[in-house]
Amino acid sequence: METLTHLLSGFAVAGTPTNLLIALAGCFLGTVIGLLPGLGPINGVAILLPIAFAMKLPPESALILLAAVYAGCEYGGRISAILINVPGDAGAVMTTLDGFPMAKKGLAGPALSISAVASFTGSLVATIGIVAFAPALANWAMAFGPAEYFALMVLALSCLGGLVGDSLPKALIACLLGLALACVGIDSNSGVYRYTFDLLHLSDGIPFIVVVIGLFAVSELLLMLESHHADTQAASLSGRLLFNLQEFMLARWTIVRSAVAGFFIGVLPGAGASIASAMTYATERRLAGKDHTFGAGDVRGVAAPEAANNASAYGSLIPMLTLGVPGSGTTAVMIGALTLYNITPGPSLFQDQPIIVWSLIASLFIANIMLLAMNIPLIRLFVKFLDIPNWLLVPGIAAVSLVGVYAVHGTAFDLVLGCLLGGFGYLLRVMNFPMAPLILGFVLGDMMEQNLRRALSISGGELDILYASPLTIGLWLAAAAMLIGPRLLRLVERRRAVALVSA
């Protein structure tokens, strides 16, 4: 009851004309930033934060702006993933797998609209989740220590089987390359510089954005240049912009399941949109059984990651608001925003600054509705990106991507590194290596290593800490199920088929 009163007062603040206008601007900017490859929510929030502060916006308005941009980015990321096979942000990596094939089949419209609905549902579920669970979930998230995190990462990697393209060895090699790239930089356990070749620019490792832009955008551009025809691009848009009933019925439970799962994954500090979308994609692919076209343009393959990445993006606000711990890179920047306004995010935030917390939550509801309205009627505008000819698109993407790379550290070194990685990525793609396992290996590798070593520092090197708590045991069992389950099922099915034949 008290929650409801707070929420209403939050709506009163978020619903003032100024704040509505701010939310609208944030949604629009966010979608555009998310859609531009290379510019993700982190850059968007980081770029707008100083602007909001300079405009002397009150703290709640600034947070509404940043939250709207964050939400908009999660919507926008899917557009470039679907239309040009370049994820607009990390959470949209999985969306490329089925989104781009759908676009090539001429189903860009349905892919975009179903993913908009998935994003909406994911956000809505997660926002309701924040309202319902925020205080309680904070305690739950704290049960996750290093050992639990390590087991969670193993679970996430064991889901990789679900994203394998044609060849398991190639996926594993790609994953290992990602893990290797993650080793570069200061070892945050011992403080030793690894693989930096005395280059101070590598001391913090290879920035995520450089890897993403290099491997996805630059290599994509090289592939585009190589092809003499325009057929690396999506085929032209069919008349249908909206998904049909059949597609909706196919995807509806996928959306709901992925939204709920994405939310819970987002709540875990550190486990963000990329893990959520990868896990839900893999799960849905498993659940679909034999009767699916995952990887070749299945609506569920677009709906699952999009519902999950929005839900987890919103879910990551919970540890930020309740513990002051960022659940994602973007919320880390938002914590910086709160600090600027002399507000310490943490356990006492809900008591000390209820207006700020609840107007933020209310603005999430409002932004979400705005974004749905923007993203279905405006799709036609975004689909126009397909009409841009290569000679304009390639330099355009190159410019925007490299601006994104440059924006992070402001050094030319990153540009060179991004281009080198782009050449490397191009070679890998020519040899048909899948890129998604590589990027997941890169993201998870670092966290996995840190948490394993933290767990072992706690236990003094004893391995039994890794399966000491019920939570870890549960996670290990889930990982085992993800690995063995599908094979077991296949075996059972084959037996049954044999039995049927012989009978």
Partner: protein
């Protein structure tokens, strides 16, 4: 004659102007991504300078992340050594890395140290329901069985956070190699691990414990400051008071490039001296969770020389650099 006079007057104005005017294009480089302590340090001087009208043009804040300031340090020395308007934020962590040699070939003598404007102090924190009531309890427990007390903090082995743990363990007669220490990324993660019971003691910073202390979730056993801290931490005894002489200050300040002119350097030092004495700045500093600490110009340079030396000695003792 008249023309000469006018010219002389103009020249005089120009010279006078040059001696008094603020250096052009004021910029503060935060050597990290937006949102961290370096950003905070730059934003503090940005507000301080604009609120006191010390600058005619607003100060820009730019970001140059990498190696806790290493990239910015090298860039400023090698590529932008003479930009009179560019100040760079540094912290105690930068000094430590400088002492260990993680800043590359340059030393503390290669920049012009401008001002330290505030400090944070180490604090030893345990969960509210932990069996340790005083720092003595924690140290005795560590002494009797080093494997039973797991320290955690937001920095790697060799970082300031680790140093604080290692110094406490040293008081217990426990070697830094036997100490159980878990490195987290940032204080937020570490304090979550403490609250979740995954580590037993957190060697964090005094400025970050306020909200947790207020909600009754943690107990601060000691602050690693020369004397008790003001405000909500006034009731917390220092480590020295409890018989363990462990002090750890994390200062925050700024430096300029090595080839900045003496005039520009003097202008900055005078301006900072004025600003640091104003009550408005004290308020801004307090709002950002920093404790009073003010040193400028030569005094700061001496302080830094001493501390870099102290850090280098500690690092040798703890085996962080080759003997």
């Amino acid at each position: 004659m008249k023309i000469t006079n006018t010219l002389t007057a103009m020249a005089a104005i120009l010279c006078f102007g040059a001696a008094q005017a603020a250096p052009g294009k004021p910029e503060c480089i935060a050597p990290a991504k937006p949102g961290g302590g370096f950003d905070l340090t730059c934003k503090l001087v940005q507000s301080g300078l604009s609120d006191g009208n010390y600058l005619s043009a607003p100060m820009r804040v730019t970001y140059m992340p990498g190696g806790i300031g290493a990239v910015a340090y090298n860039t400023v020395i090698a590529q932008r050594p003479d930009e009179g308007g560019t100040i760079v934020a540094f912290s105690g962590g930068s000094l430590l890395n400088l002492a260990i040699g993680k800043f590359g070939k340059y030393t503390a003598k290669d920049v012009r140290w401008l001002a330290a404007v505030g400090a944070d102090y180490g604090a030893i924190i345990v969960r509210a329901d932990a069996p340790y009531q005083t720092l003595k309890d924690l140290i005795e427990a560590t002494r009797s069985d080093p494997t039973q007390v797991v320290f955690g903090a937001g920095g790697s082995v060799g970082s300031q956070d680790w140093m604080k743990s290692a110094l406490v363990a040293r008081e217990a007669g426990v070697n830094y190699k036997q100490m159980r220490y878990v490195a987290f990324e940032g204080g937020g993660e570490a304090i979550t691990a403490l609250l979740g019971g995954h580590v037993h003691a957190y060697s964090g910073d005094a400025s970050e414990v306020g909200p947790y202390l207020k909600s009754g979730k943690v107990r601060v056993l000691a602050v690693l400051a020369p004397e008790r801290l003001p405000g909500e931490l006034a009731a917390i005894p220092t480590a020295t008071e409890q018989g363990y002489p462990v002090e750890w200050a994390i200062i925050r300040g700024y430096y300029l490039g090595p080839k900045v002119t003496d005039d520009d350097y003097k202008w900055w030092v005078t301006t900072f001296d004025k600003m640091l004495n104003s009550p408005e700045f004290a308020k801004l500093r307090g709002e950002r969770g920093l404790f009073p600490f003010a040193l400028t110009g030569d005094k700061l340079t001496d302080y830094i020389d001493q501390n870099v030396k102290r850090y280098a000695d500690l690092s040798r003792e703890f085996g962080l650099v080759g003997q």
